[in-house]
C-alpha cells in the first residue's frame, strides 16, 4: 500500500495536463484534498472524459513568481505534495519562458523550503519535458544517461532544463524535501489543442499524400492520462519511506510504444475514415530546401511560416526513449494504449465540435 496523500497542490492544474492530474488524484482512495493553483480557473469539462466533481476541488488564483502569493496559498492548502506542472504554451516568447519556468520554479522551491513549511510540504514532483536532452540530432532509445546539450535548441528547452535542475537540486534540502522530475514526450489526449488537432488540420488541407523523409524514424507519443498516472505514482513513491532511487531523479515517461512517425497521423486519419490512396514521399533534404523558401517568403510577406525547417527536422527525426527506469523504480506502465488514446482524443474533439455548433446555433 502506498502512503496516503492528505493534500495535493497542483500548480498549473487548470491546464491540459493539470485537469488529468486532478482527475487521477481524485480517483485515489483515500481521496486527498485537491487544490489547484493557476492563473485561471479550470475550464468546464466533459463528464465523459473527466470523472471528478468540480465542487470538490479548490481553486486558488496565484502568481508563482510572487513569494507572498505562494506563502498564502501554501498556508491555506497545507499540501504534503506539490505537483508543479505550470508551463507556458509554445510560442509565448523567451521572456515568459524564463519568468515561468525558471523564476517561477525557483520561487516555488524557495518558499516550499522555508522553515514554516517544513512540517507540511514533503515532496515536489516537477513536470519537465523529454526535449531537455534534445540537441538537434536523433534521439534513439534515449534514457536518463543522456546528458543535457551544451547549447539548448531553443529558449523553451533551455528554461525547462533550468527548471528541472532547480527542482532536483532542492532534493534533501530543508527538512529532507523529496523531489523528482518527469519528462514526458509528445503529449496528446482529451484537452489537446496541438498534436491531434494539428494532424487533423492536415486532413483539411489535403496534405495527407505527402510524406517527409522515409518514415523509418521512430517517435514517442504519449497519452496524457498515462503521464498523469506517472505523476501520481511519483508522488506516492516520494511520500514512501525509502525512496533513494526516486528522490532527486528524472524519469522519461512515454507510452512505451514508439511508432514510425507517420503511423500516428495516418491512424488518426483512418479513424476519420480517410486513407491516402498513394503517398508522395519527399526526401528530407528537399523538404528542408522547400521549408527554407517557405520561411523566406513568409518573412517577406511579414507572416509566420507554417512549413518550417524546424517542422521538417522534427518530422524526420528519431525521438524515442527507453523508459526502463520509470518502469523499475516508479512501477510505471502505461494504462491506456496508443490507439485507445487516439480514439478517446477524437471522441473528445467530436464532442467539443458538437458543443461549439450547438452554441453557434443558439446565438443565431
Amino acid at each position: 500500500m502506498p502512503a496516503p496523500i492528505s493534500s495535493v497542490l497542483i500548480i498549473g492544474g487548470s491546464g491540459f495536463l493539470g485537469c488529468h492530474l486532478v482527475d487521477l488524484f481524485y480517483k485515489l482512495t483515500p481521496r486527498p484534498e485537491i487544490h489547484i493553483l493557476d492563473i485561471r480557473p479550470p475550464p468546464a469539462l466533459s463528464p465523459n472524459f473527466y470523472s471528478f466533481n468540480p465542487d470538490d476541488i479548490s481553486f486558488h488564483k496565484g502568481d508563482i513568481t510572487d513569494p507572498d502569493s505562494l506563502r498564502a496559498i501554501f498556508r491555506v492548502t497545507k499540501p504534503d505534495v506539490i505537483i508543479h506542472s505550470a508551463s507556458p504554451v509554445h510560442g509565448m516568447g523567451k521572456d515568459i519562458y524564463f519568468k515561468v519556468n525558471v523564476d517561477g520554479t525557483q520561487t516555488i522551491v524557495d518558499v516550499a523550503l522555508e522553515q514554516e513549511f517544513w512540517s507540511t510540504i514533503k515532496a515536489v514532483v516537477y513536470t519537465s519535458s523529454a526535449s531537455v536532452i534534445y540537441d538537434g540530432s536523433d534521439l534513439k532509445n534515449a534514457d536518463e544517461t543522456f546528458e543535457f546539450p551544451e547549447v539548448a535548441m531553443d529558449a523553451y528547452n533551455e528554461t525547462k532544463v533550468l527548471g528541472e535542475q532547480i527542482v532536483l537540486s532542492a532534493n534533501g534540502k530543508g527538512a529532507g524535501l523529496k523531489t523528482c522530475a518527469l519528462r514526458p514526450s509528445g503529449l496528446f489526449g482529451p484537452g489537446d489543442r496541438q498534436l491531434v488537432p494539428g494532424m487533423l488540420a492536415v486532413l483539411k488541407t489535403n496534405g495527407t499524400l505527402f510524406q517527409l523523409g522515409d518514415n523509418m524514424n521512430l517517435f514517442d507519443f504519449t497519452y496524457i492520462g498515462n503521464v498523469a498516472h506517472a505523476h501520481v505514482l511519483a508522488a506516492q513513491k516520494l511520500l514512501d519511506g525509502d525512496v533513494s532511487d526516486v528522490a532527486g531523479e528524472a524519469f522519461f515517461i512515454t507510452n512505451d510504444a514508439p511508432v514510425y512517425f507517420f503511423t500516428m497521423p495516418r491512424t488518426i486519419w483512418a479513424h476519420k475514415g480517410y486513407v491516402p490512396k498513394f503517398i508522395i514521399s519527399m526526401p528530407r533534404g528537399v523538404g528542408m530546401t522547400l521549408a527554407y523558401l517557405s520561411e523566406l517568403f513568409s518573412k517577406m510577406r511579414g507572416k509566420e511560416a507554417l512549413f518550417t525547417r524546424f517542422r521538417v527536422a522534427f518530422t524526420c527525426a528519431n525521438r524515442y526513449f527507453n523508459i526502463s527506469k520509470a518502469v523499475k523504480r516508479l512501477g510505471y506502465t502505461p494504462t491506456v494504449g496508443l490507439e485507445e488514446g487516439v480514439i478517446k482524443t477524437l471522441q473528445w474533439l467530436d464532442e467539443e465540435e458538437a458543443a461549439r455548433n450547438e452554441a453557434a446555433k443558439k446565438e443565431n
Binding site: 536523433d138 532509445n141 514508439p258 514510425y260 503511423t263 495516418r266 491516402p276 527507453n322 496508443l338 490507439e339
Partner: protein, 455 residues
C-alpha cells in the same frame, strides 16, 4: 523445375546455394566410423523425419548433438502417436501419459501406427538404447519434458470441445503453443545450459524460451491455415478470427479475402510481439553451433511471417519461403548482429507494406518499432557514432594530368573488364570482399597512424 527458375531469378540466392553446396563444412563433422550401428541408425531416423532441421542438428558440437538428436526422436515418437487418428484414445492416452517411462523400457517398440513417421516408433528400441548412454543430467531433462508434453497432449486429446471447435481464446492459443513448442524450447535451453553452451541466466527468465517456441509455432499455425483447414484442424483462436468472419471456412471464399487478410495481420502482430524476447534469448547463446541451431529456425520464421503478411494466398494455398532464401538465411544467421539485421530487414519490409486500411495498422507499427528499439538497446547507435568519429581519417588525393587520364582510360579499361569478370566469378563462389576491404582499410589506417606517430 520452377525451383531452378526461381534461383535464376534471384542470383544472390543462387550464389548462396552454390556456395553452401561447394564450400560448406561443419565445424564439428560427424565421424561415422567411430559411431555404433545403432547410433548411425538414429541419425538416419532423424534424416527421415526431420527434413529441414536434421542438417542443423547434425552440426551441433558432439556431446549436445547426441542429446538433441535423441530429444528430437523422442518428441517425434510422441507426436506421431498423438497425430495418428487411427489409434483409439483407449490405447493412445496411456502411451502419451507414460511415454517418459517407456524411455527406460529396454526393447520397447510400437507397431500400430499408420503415420508417415511411424518408422521411429517401430525402431524405438534403438532410441531407448542410445538414450540410456546419455549423461544422467540430459536423460533427466528429456524425461521431464517428455512427461509434461505427453500429459499436455493427452489433455488436448481428451478435450472434446478443443477437438471440435479448435482454439477459443488468445490465452488458450498461447497455452496450446506452450505445450507443443514452449516446452521444447525449455528442454533445449536446459540441455544447452547443462552443456555449457548458453548463459545459465536463461533459466531464470522462462518467458524467453517460451517466446522462442511460441514465435515458431504461431508462425507455422498462421502459414498452415489452409492445410490445417483441409485436415479439419483449427488453431487460429476464435477470439481473433471471429472479429473478421462467422467461421474460419469463410476466409477461403473470395468475398472474405479482405477481412481474411486483416485477420492475418492481427495474428502476425500477435506473433511479432514475441520477437524482442527471441532476440534477447539469442544474445545469451554462447557456443557457435548452438547459436546457429537456435537462430536458423527463428530467421526462417521471421521470413515466413513477412511472406504471409498481407498475403491473400495464405487463405487458399500453402505458401512457403523459397529454398534459396532459406539457404541464404542459414548462411547469414551465424552471429547476433547479423541475425538482428535479418530480423530488422524483414520487420522493415512488414512496416513498408503496412497500411492504415488495416485495423491492425498501429499494432503492427508498434510491434515492428519494438524490434528496432530492442536492437538499439543491444547495439546502441550513439556508441557506434562515437567510435566512427574517433576512427575517421581521410587520405588526400593528388591531382591527375590529362595524359595520365588517357593512359588510365586505354589500359585501365581493359584491365577493369578482365578484373571485374574475375572478381564476379570469385564473388559468385563465395569470396568475402567485405572482409577483405575491412582488413585493407584497417591496415591502411594502421600505417597512417604509425606514420603520424613517428612525425
Amino acid at each position: 523445375m520452377s525451383k531452378y527458375l526461381q534461383l535464376i531469378a534471384h542470383p544472390q540466392e543462387l550464389r548462396a546455394v552454390l556456395q553452401w553446396a561447394i564450400w560448406h563444412e561443419p565445424l564439428y563433422p560427424r565421424d561415422p566410423s567411430k559411431e555404433s550401428d545403432n547410433l548411425k541408425r538414429c541419425y538416419e531416423l532423424l534424416g527421415y523425419t526431420s527434413r529441414s532441421f536434421a542438417a542443423v542438428i547434425e552440426e551441433l558440437a558432439p556431446e549436445l548433438r547426441e542429446a538433441v538428436v535423441l530429444f528430437y526422436l523422442v518428441l517425434r515418437g510422441l507426436d506421431t502417436i498423438e497425430d495418428d487418428m487411427t489409434i483409439p484414445n483407449t490405447v493412445k492416452l496411456p502411451i502419451l501419459r507414460s511415454f517418459h517411462e517407456l524411455l527406460t523400457k529396454e526393447g520397447w517398440t510400437f507397431n500400430g501406427s499408420q503415420e508417415k513417421d511411424k518408422v521411429v516408433l517401430e525402431e524405438f528400441d534403438k532410441v531407448i538404447y542410445e538414450f540410456s548412454l546419455l549423461k544422467p543430467i540430459y536423460r533427466d531433462i528429456i524425461a521431464e519434458m517428455t512427461k509434461r508434453m505427453g500429459n499436455g497432449m493427452a489433455d488436448y486429446c481428451e478435450d472434446d470441445d478443443f477437438n471440435k471447435k479448435g482454439v477459443n481464446t488468445v490465452k488458450e492459443y498461447d497455452l496450446y503453443c506452450h505445450y507443443v513448442a514452449g516446452i521444447v524450447g525449455e528442454g533445449l535451453t536446459r540441455l544447452s545450459v547443462s552443456g555449457g553452451s548458453s548463459d545459465p541466466r536463461l533459466l531464470e527468465n522462462p518467458h524467453l524460451h517460451n517466446s522462442m517456441g511460441l514465435f515458431l509455432q504461431k508462425t507455422n499455425i498462421i502459414r498452415d491455415f489452409h492445410e490445417d483447414l483441409l485436415d479439419n484442424r483449427k488453431f487460429w483462436p476464435k477470439e481473433i478470427w471471429s472479429k473478421y468472419a462467422d467461421s474460419m471456412e469463410d476466409f477461403v471464399r473470395p468475398e472474405y479475402t479482405e477481412t481474411g487478410v486483416h485477420c492475418l495481420s492481427e495474428l502476425v502482430a500477435n506473433a511479432l510481439e514475441h520477437v524482442p524476447d527471441c532476440l534477447y534469448y539469442l544474445a545469451a547463446v554462447k557456443e557457435q553451433t548452438m547459436f546457429n541451431f537456435c537462430a536458423i529456425p527463428q530467421v526462417m520464421a521471421i521470413a515466413t511471417l513477412e511472406l504471409v503478411f498481407q498475403n491473400k494466398n495464405v487463405l487458399t494455398s500453402h505458401v512457403k519461403i523459397r529454398r534459396g532464401t532459406s539457404v541464404m538465411l542459414i548462411m547469414r544467421a551465424t552471429s547476433v548482429r547479423e541475425t538482428y539485421n535479418i530480423f530488422q530487414e524483414y520487420c522493415h519490409k512488414i512496416h513498408a507494406r503496412n497500411t492504415p486500411k488495416d485495423p491492425n495498422y498501429m499494432r503492427i507499427s508498434i510491434a515492428c518499432a519494438k524490434v528496432d528499439q530492442f536492437i538499439e538497446t543491444i547495439f546502441p547507435t550513439r556508441k557506434e557514432v562515437k567510435d566512427k568519429i574517433a576512427k575517421e581519417e581521410k587520405p588526400e588525393e593528388t591531382a591527375s594530368t590529362t595524359e595520365v587520364l588517357t593512359i588510365i582510360l586505354l589500359f585501365g579499361g581493359t584491365l577493369l573488364i578482365t578484373s571485374s569478370l574475375m572478381l564476379g566469378v570469385a564473388w559468385f563462389f563465395g569470396a568475402r570482399f567485405d572482409l577483405a576491404f575491412a582488413s585493407i582499410k584497417e591496415n591502411f589506417l594502421g600505417i597512417a597512424d604509425a606514420a603520424r606517430d613517428e612525425l
